[in-house]
């Protein structure tokens, strides 16, 4: 699987701290990437205890390799690949005994998989950026992206603002989100990349 990972200094720091025995750094690694592990499991139709077994394997394998990871920045790719392998193993030897061949998942090795992983990485960055903006912005944006979105009257009422203030505030909150380092890191930087 070809991966195009950018250097993420925070991942590198987290891995180094976990390597030194810092449990909080490990918990943060888990909080950051558990959704990725879960999403891969879901792609393979695994839920409940099957998914839990896969998750346990992935995290235990990461723990045993903490001391030898050479490129922590490539962690999301490693996690996705390891989870995929554990899912296939679980399907082959699992309770349901469904014979599984690798080629039943033709997309996994190709461009579609890279695209999927990049989307997961964008999601990870969005969640981290969101955690870094103000509580008030988080509440407003949460009401706006709810499905269906909350009516403006209700938002105004809940957040104690005028209906007319929602639009400008929303714009400012999204601007703060864009300015978070996690999203700035994803901006195209090369002048030839379009913008």
């Amino acid at each position: 699987m070809m991966l195009t990972m950018r250097d993420d200094p925070t991942v590198v720091a987290l891995v180094e701290r976990a390597r030194d025995g810092d449990r909080r750094a490990w918990d943060e690694i888990v909080a950051r990437y558990a959704t990725l592990v879960w999403s891969v499991c879901r792609r393979y139709g695994l839920t409940g205890s099957d998914a839990e077994d896969v998750g346990a394997s992935v995290w235990l394998r990461l723990v045993e390799r903490l001391g030898s990871i050479r490129e922590p920045a490539a962690l999301p790719g490693w996690i996705a690949t390891t989870t995929r392998r554990e899912c296939l193993q679980a399907l082959r030897t699992g309770r349901r005994q469904i014979p599984v061949e690798d080629d039943e998942f033709p997309d996994e090795e190709g461009a579609a998989s890279d695209e999927w992983l990049l989307e997961q990485e964008r999601h990870i960055a969005l969640r981290l950026a969101f955690a870094g903006i103000s509580e008030r912005c988080r509440r407003l944006l949460s009401m706006l992206f709810a499905d269906p979105p909350a009516p403006y009257v209700e938002i105004a009422d809940t957040l104690g603002m005028t209906v007319g203030g929602i639009g400008p505030t929303r714009m400012r909150c999204l601007e703060r989100l864009r300015d978070r380092p996690e999203l700035v890191a994803l901006r195209p930087t090369a002048p030839t990349s379009g913008r």
Binding site: A18, G21, R23, W26, D27, V30, A31, A34, T35, V37, W38, S39, R42, A51, E52, D53, G55, A56, S57, W59, L60, R61, L62, V63, E64, R65, L66, G67, S68, R92, T93, R95, Q97, P99, L118, R122, H123, I124, L126, R127, F130, L141, S142, L144, F145, A146, D147, R170, M171, L174, L177, R178, L183, L186, R187, P188, S193, G194, R195
Partner: protein, 155 residues
């Protein structure tokens, strides 16, 4: 990478999708991840899986009495394992005596002896995920995590 996040609508939609995906993850799933750190062991040398008959091409598979064969290699020794119906038996190469701790992810750790010619037997065979921690006069070696599940069987 073109993210399309110059558009407020697109950014908001992607943010919603990202946060909804996170909310789907059961708390137990996160807990399992956090718990894994308890197994961090900086002192032992990791023995990596170098052969597994369950994933090996046909023709290199194990003999019939053996359901599955695995090899773990460290710098100065290898641990060869055979999964049989009732046990997990193995050999340390080069032969040397010692003690082998069986560490299941869930349940009690137990210890079995490794005899003078490097043989050991674990009965009954471990269920679920586990690893082996080998102590000999010269080595302190930990295998990767494994399970003794056999392809095509419900065991």
């Amino acid at each position: 990478m073109a993210t399309g996040w110059d558009s407020d609508e697109r950014l908001l939609a992607d943010l919603g999708a990202a946060l909804r995906a996170e909310r789907e993850v059961p708390e137990r799933f996160l807990e399992i991840g956090r718990e894994a750190f308890a197994w961090y062991d900086v002192d032992a040398e990791l023995a990596a899986l170098t052969f597994d008959s369950a994933t090996a091409p046909a023709g290199t598979r194990a003999e019939t009495a053996t359901l599955r064969a695995l090899t773990f290699a460290a710098r100065r020794l290898t641990i060869e394992l055979e999964v049989t119906a009732g046990a997990l038996v193995g050999q340390v190469v080069p032969p040397q005596p010692g003690e082998l701790e069986v560490q299941p992810r869930e349940g009690e750790t137990r210890t079995v002896p490794v005899d003078e010619v490097g043989w050991f037997a674990i009965r009954p065979r471990p269920a679920g995920l586990f690893r082996l921690h080998l102590h000999t006069a010269e080595s302190d070696v930990l295998t990767e995590w494994m399970s003794t599940r056999v392809p095509g069987s419900s065991a």
